[in-house]
Symmetry: C2
Subunit: 340 residues, 2 copies
DNA sequence: TTGTAGGCGTTATCAA
DNA sequence: TTGATAACGCCTACAA
């Protein structure tokens, strides 16, 4: 009856066929086992015949560890996050974990996903989501699952964060643009409620203020190329437009550049300087050569993995760690301008 | 002793605290249950106190279904595959599945990952890997796990495939380039042993041959921007270079365009026409406006999901299905040329 | 070295 | 409506 649904052979099946006990089978597959050559070969023969693969599921019940780590992510359209996801996956696989991928594009869908993850008994969660609110973080903490928040500075007893120094970087960019002769400044930020974008905008504003500039025109977009393009068109509709534009990520910056050059007939960097954030591969492409900040994704992932490793061996909560990775300015052509 | 390792409360814990039987707890969490209001509230109260989340792990043992679907992928640097991964993830989540993400960048690492997946008792596997060999496919079939191969036309009893019509598309492109006045043809293909790239090259060659053109200079690259750029530099080192260049994917085409324009001072499309394959977002960017083929990732994913759904309800093998999705030509600026 | 027995956290069955 | 009981597949004593 239930035979029909049965897909995998069990160790009991193998034992029966091999004419040994179930524990003999179990021992055959345990690294430091004490099994006679004879038993072992009988078992392996039967196992091959039945295509037996030991199941890890019962082990999860016994040990309370699944070796499953969930990665919650939204916006893989951004190559920076695609690369981060790939690095996490490789790193976790190398450490003997499996990755449970969860897509969430809003705080709401995140909340919906959490109980599922708890039901699968994941060992830890990585949130590479720009929208982890403190409230969601508290919700997460209730499940007593270690969490690493990537690029969103929330933390509590169970939640740690790995961020890059958005404020400092954006401030440094303000300096650079002033040095390069910028006079009127503009900024295209990400969606409201994106902490990373907020920090970048705030840092830019501070950097300008420190040099006595208070004027800053801004537009909001959605972190995508098209959004950046349209935001630039809006921002540059007025006759007295900026001559230095900071975009909260590279994709929007590339869209803005194309808007300026192709739709508005402006030269970059001669008429308008542009800078982005992330250093995605296309920022370096010959058609753009965009000045940007390298978010050191590799190092950020490594830091996150280190936190997870600690969490895996600890018995209690190991949250409240905050790692800040500096961003490195990569100056390319889009800000290379002789001061007027 | 083992208390220390115990992280989650079990239904037995809840039952004890609530003063009811374990089955009562189980029923409380079962949708169509018959529990008295009184019992239910006692249970929920105790559960809240203990932060209880029912575990899905035992259910996997009982039902032989994990609701886990593995996605094996390599090369998320290509936005086309990043988008495919995202669509798969969303689609599977909507269908009540969870996604196990596996990164594999070679046939070898794929082989290494398979037994792990079998141990986690995944219900199905999606291979979005350009390197699934028939041998690997047979290996997969041994585990009796339904497999959908994305863009690689292998199949057997347990393996189905969803591909796009690479040959037909590339042949149509040859026609177009001839119509636009192409005289000398070049092609930058992907790594050897990539079936998709092989088919595209073969189709292009066939299309040319049908119009009496046998000459075709080729170079091989790695599907990435930089690789395309370098391959173009090699291909155009000779004095008599192509005036029509087909690249096996968009990323390489964009690299080739920048090589032609910026390193070699050639005009695209006036001096050289260029076309790619995939229709990734950056192909449409203002700086390039690349002619390409839209691989309908959305539809391909939907077809794959449909196969998986069938597999989920069937009892035996459901492989050997082959779906072919047509590719649609998107002609943009890089082939817009007046015939000489 | 082997086999027997108990338990991990659920669900399903059956009797109360 | 409830509670006891037997699985599911494996691991770990413990006894033979």
């Amino acid at each position: 009856m239930t035979e029909r649904a049965k897909k995998y052979a069990s160790s009991t099946d193998v034992a029966r066929l091999a004419g040994v006990s179930q524990s003999a089978v179990s021992r055959t597959y345990k690294p430091g086992a004490k099994v006679s050559e004879e038993t072992r070969s009988k078992v392996l023969k039967a196992a091959a015949e039945l295509d037996y693969r030991p199941s890890l599921i019962p082990r999860i019940m016994l040990t309370h560890r699944s070796n499953l780590v969930a990665i919650v992510i939204g916006g893989m359209y951004n190559p920076f996050y695609a690369a981060v996801l790939e690095r996490f996956t490789v790193g976790l696989q190398d450490a003997g974990n499996q990755v449970l991928l969860v897509h969430a594009d809003s705080g709401h869908s995140l909340d919906a996903a959490i109980p599922k993850l708890a039901s699968y008994r994941v060992d830890a969660i990585v949130s590479a989501l720009a929208i982890l609110s403190p409230r969601s973080a508290d919700e997460l903490a209730r499940f007593k699952i270690p969490v690493v928040s990537f690029n969103t500075p929330v933390r509590n007893e169970w939640v740690s964060s790995v961020c890059c120094d958005n404020v400092g970087a954006a401030r440094a960019l303000a300096d650079l643009m002033l040095t390069r002769g910028g006079r009127r400044f503009g900024c295209i930020s990400g969606p409201t409620a994106s902490p990373a974008s907020d920090e970048r905008l705030a840092g830019f504003r501070t950097g300008l203020a420190m040099r006595g500039i208070e004027d800053l025109v801004t537009a909001t977009a959605d972190f995508r190329y098209e959004g950046g393009r349209e935001a630039a068109l809006r921002l540059f509709a007025a006759p007295r437009h900026p001559d230095a534009l900071f975009c909260a990520n590279d994709l929007m910056a590339l869209g803005a550049i194309d808007a300026l050059r192709r739709d508005l007939g402006l030269r970059v960097p001669e008429d308008v300087m542009v800078a982005g954030f992330d250093d995605i591969p296309s920022a370096a492409w010959g058609a753009y050569e965009l000045t940007t900040f390298l978010q050191d994704g590799r190092r950020m992932v490594d830091e996150a993995l280190a936190i997870l490793k600690t969490a895996a061996t600890a018995h209690g909560p190991v949250g409240d760690v905050a790692v800040d990775v500096p961003a490195r300015l990569i100056e390319r052509r889009t800000t290379q301008r002789e001061p007027a």
